[in-house]
Symmetry: C2
Amino acid sequence: MNVNEFDLIERLTAGLPTNPSLVTGPGDDCAVLDLGVPDRLVLFKTDAVVEGVHFTAETPPEKIGHKALARCLSDIAAMAGSPNSVLVTLGLPADFSAERVERIYAGLNALARRYGVAVAGGETTRNPGGFLIAIAALGTVPRPGCVRRSGARPGDAIFVTGELGGSLAGHHLDFEPRLAEATWLRENFPPHAMIDLSDGLAGDLRHLLKASGVGAELHSRSLPIRRAARVAARETPGAKPALLAALTDGEDFELLFTVAAPAAVPLLDGWKAAFPDVRLSCIGKVTAGDKIQLRGPHGPQPFPKHGYVHFA
Amino acid sequence: MNVNEFDLIERLTAGLPTNPSLVTGPGDDCAVLDLGVPDRLVLFKTDAVVEGVHFTAETPPEKIGHKALARCLSDIAAMAGSPNSVLVTLGLPADFSAERVERIYAGLNALARRYGVAVAGGETTRNPGGFLIAIAALGTVPRPGCVRRSGARPGDAIFVTGELGGSLAGHHLDFEPRLAEATWLRENFPPHAMIDLSDGLAGDLRHLLKASGVGAELHSRSLPIRRAARVAARETPGAKPALLAALTDGEDFELLFTVAAPAAVPLLDGWKAAFPDVRLSCIGKVTAGDKIQLRGPHGPQPFPKHGYVHFA
């Protein structure tokens, strides 16, 4: 069987039960709830990592715990929110080692402490196929500061943090969720729309543009390509060209966002002072319509149809 | 390897990261958070069901979805709270059928609608060993109404809803979370302590008593034994005696709670009027000290050391 995850999700999310407290349901980085906190909305997110899919038997356990939590925190960053607390659901194979579990928790706890996140409890269960770590995360965001995927406007400048492509060489286990950057953006240059890059720039940009009802023009020379993607393209026979890797590799966990065009230059200046070690790239602009154009040094280039598609 | 889940959990939950909004962390039915809602606390819970552990390939998919959600709602009931919204994380084997996934959701959605719960989104991932459904649930409870495991006092009467034992004959897939009952209790006869029965009365009563620093005296003739447990004891060679099944079988998902002794009789009267179809049994009283005594028709009986212990 060959099911496209997005098709299945589209069917599953049609007509889900809702209630008046649900402000934003499926289809953004987090669900957004109004639970009656006077000045804030509540962000709610789950995510899971699975042995053989997101990590292997050889992955250092601390990095598994780090990755499991960091993925969820990245989604909270993508709404410009702050994480509050998480619950951990652990699926354990029959022959699990307690030491491995404790080291997974050590990696997760270290990251939680860095951002003041409470690990409020969790569950363990057997999972015959291998380790699975599911994280449920709660965060909050000031009511006017919540950034969705749907606010991009024609003329906006499109930015991306960090570098793209080749994440599987190591970045996917080590990345730092862009929480500080997202809060700084919210307070200084409120994005019109934002998403975190988990499935690859090409796919995630499409999600943002579709939610906003707009198109985009990107400049291929502005894309910040990770060194690992360049090295792989040069040295690994059959590897993707580096530009294609930057567009389609998954698990970058960087922020993709748009701001009003006049904010672009002051944003770049302010960013350099605030985050001297984190690259920020203006990669193009939002356009009317629904097309994506990629401009290269010799004219338009084909833009890949999808990022990484699960189960494809 | 033979690891006792409770020992591992005790090690994992020692020294978890916390923050000022965490009111009650690991060790109760839900985590309790103060997110700044003026008159309410927030309840946060996760739970997972796994193919081959909590259901089989033959289980009707709608019942899998019902069970996955009902388990979480039962934990919210145990704090006397009301559920608000859930996220669903689905682990899918390589050869999953989209129809089975949609039917799992149908069962889950039907239960969610009955209690006004929003299904706010979720994630899908591959899980090579089989289906896994993890639910993350948010609820709220009035600040003074939140019932923990730790408030039982010597002299309290001990009550249990419904019937106990033999759940695997069907109840574990069909049970209705005791949300209406818990809200009624909170408003009319606020329990001093409450827990939902997932691991068996013997084990879960110990959890409640330990959290409260008290003991108990139970009357074996007052225990409401489910018919399925009596039938199994009579007809299945080698089956547990029915009383032992009622004490140690898991997955009852009933509420066990204590109230001040003078409230016991008015509570039973009020209950009969409010919930004529749901049995409520006074099964004993809370005592000082830390012993549990089980009194039978011919004097004291041995009280089983544990309920169901996962991974034992």
